[in-house]
């Protein structure tokens, strides 16, 4: 399975695919408390969520982190959010860029390291998209669609739409003819653009940036509904590894990225303005949705 996922991820990278978690990643800090010795390598988990040229981005990110932390860095990628989250929670990663939704789900086991800032703010939106020429006005017009979700653990690619439907008293399994998980925001856009799915839930950040990078593809879709502003996918670590030296230098490297030329290059590829120190309140919106759906999912 792992191998399969890696290869599919590689293909996804080469096609500049965006992944589900918008910009979910987590930087883990090694657990020096447990072992007494810090491992020489910093294992940093990523969900396949990147912009621009993915391979170049990974290389640039790795080089920056190695230079800024003084540790050798191993970037660990997986196909789904769940896999990355599991590795992080179980302590197999020092940190990872994850999504706000799994962060809220595993808040007791995780600790925030940094939050990316897009257009100067640590927030983004979830978009409900349809084909560009479709006349639908609200989600109620999407009855009978094949609907493309990104990932069952994605905030913008699942949770937001699911909550909205809950608020309207709709059951996705009945309301939609069929739902798909494409495990990538770019895939959601492709599915809707090609008419494989008639509507989709996508990361607004990814949609906006891809509109700039792949206008031919993205312009075949239009945004039917924008959600409220929600916390941007953060970098988190497991609670037991929080506060270690590796985690601290990682946090410093991320927060100071915007001040570093090499870091700015990475941020340019990601179309981000920088990373901010953790603030719990950023994820209150997501936490409310999780509360609302408790017992439903």
């Amino acid at each position: 399975m792992t191998k399969g996922h890696r290869s599919s991820f590689a293909v996804a990278l080469s096609r500049r695919r965006f992944s589900a978690g918008g910009a979910c990643a987590l930087l883990a800090i090694a657990s020096s408390k447990a072992s007494g010795e810090e491992p020489p390598t910093l294992r940093f988990g990523l969900t396949p969520v990147f912009l621009n040229n993915d391979i170049q981005l990974l290389d640039a990110l790795k080089l920056y982190l190695e230079a800024a932390t003084g540790h050798s860095v191993e970037l660990v990628t997986r196909r789904t959010y769940q896999e990355v989250t599991s590795l992080l929670v179980s302590g197999q990663l020092d940190a990872a860029w994850i999504c706000g939704y799994p962060y809220i789900q595993y808040r007791d086991d995780l600790e925030l390291v940094a939050i990316p800032a897009w257009n100067g703010k640590p927030y983004y939106q979830s978009y409900l998209i349809v084909a560009a020429d479709r006349e639908a006005q609200t989600i109620l017009d999407l009855r009978g669609d094949i609907h493309a979700f990104s990932d069952p653990d994605s905030n913008s690619g699942f949770l937001v739409t699911r909550t909205l439907m809950f608020e309207h008293g709709l059951d996705p399994e009945i309301f939609f003819r069929k739902t798909l998980f494409t495990y990538g925001h770019r895939n959601v856009i492709r599915a809707v653009a090609s008419n494989l799915a008639q509507s989709g839930s996508v990361d607004g950040y990814v949609w906006e940036v891809m509109l700039e990078l792949e206008p031919a593809l993205v312009s075949q879709t239009r945004v039917l509904r924008r959600s409220e502003w929600l916390g941007f996918p953060p970098i988190a670590t497991s609670r037991k590894m929080a506060g270690t030296e590796k985690n601290l230098v990682l946090q410093k490297a991320l927060v100071e990225m915007a001040a570093n030329p090499q870091g700015r290059e990475v941020l340019g590829m990601l179309r981000l303005t920088g990373f901010e120190m953790p603030q719990e309140k950023v994820f209150e919106g997501i936490a409310r949705m999780v509360d609302r759906l408790r017992g439903v999912l």
Binding site: I146, L196, A197
Partner: protein
């Protein structure tokens, strides 16, 4: 039809090369057709194998997704697995459930997921075999997706085979052009070669036609085929044939002459006998005259005897002379000719104790324009033959009758009937050459009859024996008549 007749009327030197050319064209056409057919099937196999390898890849890749009915994974795989650098490119691929509900297609707009595939579309895909639509250059192939011996789905693929078809068209035109050029060249070479090869045959044919027209000429071997030993041998053989024929002709005429002389010899002996018979009596009469010439009674009796004896000799000599008189001195046939024949034959008949009945109809006005000499000779030959064929003491007859349509001469014998060879010799097709063995007399009869334009007929004689009839028409040779 007239074209066919016209073709058959062409000389051999054109017909044979044309036939060879037509055959070569046919062979070329058949070979071209075979090659194209083979090319077609090879291309189809090639197309099928490319299509199969594409479908193998797709099937292996999407089977788990089909099992889960994961439309996105199937769609994504179809997008990723689409080959670009092959002779045939899949234009559309549709993956369905076994009941043809679309799971995913490369063109979801045309084939929406979860919709039943149109029957019309399904019919375009023959069972497992690739179908090439030459009109739009598309190829259709359907494949089942099997998992643990169960069909979990189907793949319908439409390929763009225009490149392949264009290649086939290129090969087709190249092949036809090359073949046509080569065939024309070979036909030309074949035509010229065969013409050259059968030219000696043409020469031979011309000479044989000329020979049949009586203008036989030897082939000049040195100039006709200087380097070709085979035709040289053929020409030499033809020349030898001409020489042999010439020799045979000479031999025939010599033999005919000898036969005439032979019968002359036989008649000469008859004549000598006829002269010798009275000669003794005449000499006795002369002696009697010498001794008793003074006695008037004795003298008169002796002189009378001498006169009758000499008259007898004179008749024999006259008959012989009339028979062997040269043609220019011939006179028209008359009844006396038949008397002469009987007289000339009488010693031969007497020796065999045979009787010859002379039946002459027409009296003294037996006027006939035909020459007497040849007829006498023919009659004598027939009588000699009849006498030889009949047993001793047999009764023969010679009939001569004048009719409105001409003269009929019949010779009847008591023989066992003419043998087949003799019948053929007398009434069969004319032949110049001599017959083998005996029968020269009858051959001479035939020659004479042909020369004077008479017709020979055969009949059976009542009471046993045969009748040979000579019908001499009124328009027989008159030149001799004038000469007479």
């Amino acid at each position: 039809m007239s074209g066919r007749i016209g073709l058959f009327r062409l000389p051999l030197i054109w017909r044979v090369p044309l036939a060879v050319s037509v055959l070569m064209l046919l062979v070329s056409a058949v070979i071209t057709e075979r090659v194209l057919d083979r090319l077609g099937s090879i291309q189809e196999t090639y197309l099928q194998s490319i299509a199969n390898s594409y479908l193998d890849g797709v099937t292996a890749s999407i089977s788990p997704s089909v099992l889960r009915e994961d439309s996105w994974e199937i769609f994504d795989a179809l997008e990723r697995l689409r080959p670009v650098n092959t002779a045939i490119v899949p234009v559309e691929t549709i993956v369905t459930t076994p009941s043809e509900i679309v799971l995913a297609a490369t063109d979801p707009l045309k084939y929406p997921s979860l919709e039943k595939m149109d029957d019309l579309h399904v019919e375009q895909f023959p069972d497992k075999q690739i179908r090439i639509e030459s009109g739009d250059g598309l190829a259709y192939l359907e494949r089942d997706i099997d998992y643990q011996d169960t069909t979990i789905g189907r793949i319908f693929t439409i390929f763009d085979a225009r490149l392949l078809l264009a290649e086939r068209r290129d090969v087709l035109s190249t092949l036809i052009l090359t073949n046509a050029a080569l065939t024309v060249l070979l036909v030309l070479i074949g035509f010229m070669t065969v013409r050259w090869m059968i030219r000696p045959m043409q020469t031979l044919e011309n000479h044989m036609i000329e020979a049949a027209e009586g203008k036989a000429a030897r082939i000049d071997v040195s100039s006709q085929a200087p380097g070709n030993s085979e035709s040289r041998r053929l020409f030499m053989a033809y020349n030898s044939l001409l020489d042999a024929d010439e020799e045979r002709r000479e031999l025939s005429s010599r033999l005919a002459e000898e036969e005439k002389l032979a019968s002359l010899g036989r008649l000469s002996s008859v004549m000598a006998h006829e002269i010798n018979n009275p000669l003794g009596g005449l000499l006795n009469a002369v002696d009697t005259l010498k001794k008793h010439g003074a006695n008037a009674t004795v003298r008169d009796a002796s002189l009378d005897l001498l006169q009758r004896g000499l008259q007898g000799i004179g008749e024999v000599v006259r008959a012989a002379l009339a028979t062997y008189r040269p043609a220019r001195q011939s006179r028209p046939l008359s009844l006396s000719d038949f008397h002469d024949a009987k007289m000339l034959l009488s010693p031969e008949l007497r020796s065999r104790g045979q009787e010859l009945e002379l039946l002459l109809e027409g009296g003294e006005d037996f006027a006939c324009t035909c020459p007497s000499g040849p007829v006498r000779q023919a009659v004598i030959n027939l009588l000699l033959n009849a006498s030889a064929a009949s047993p001793e003491g047999a009764d023969l007859f010679l009939r001569a009758a004048k009719r409105a349509e001409g003269v009929i001469v019949e010779v009847g014998d008591r023989g066992p009937g003419l043998p087949a060879k003799a019948v053929k010799l007398l009434t069969g097709p004319a032949r110049k050459s001599l017959p083998e063995g005996k029968g020269l007399g009858l051959w001479v009869v035939r020659q004479i009859s042909d020369e004077i334009g008479a017709r020979l007929e055969l009949a059976s004689r009542s009471g046993g024996g045969s009748i040979v009839r000579i019908r001499i028409g009124p328009d027989t040779v008159t030149e001799i008549n004038h000469a007479a």
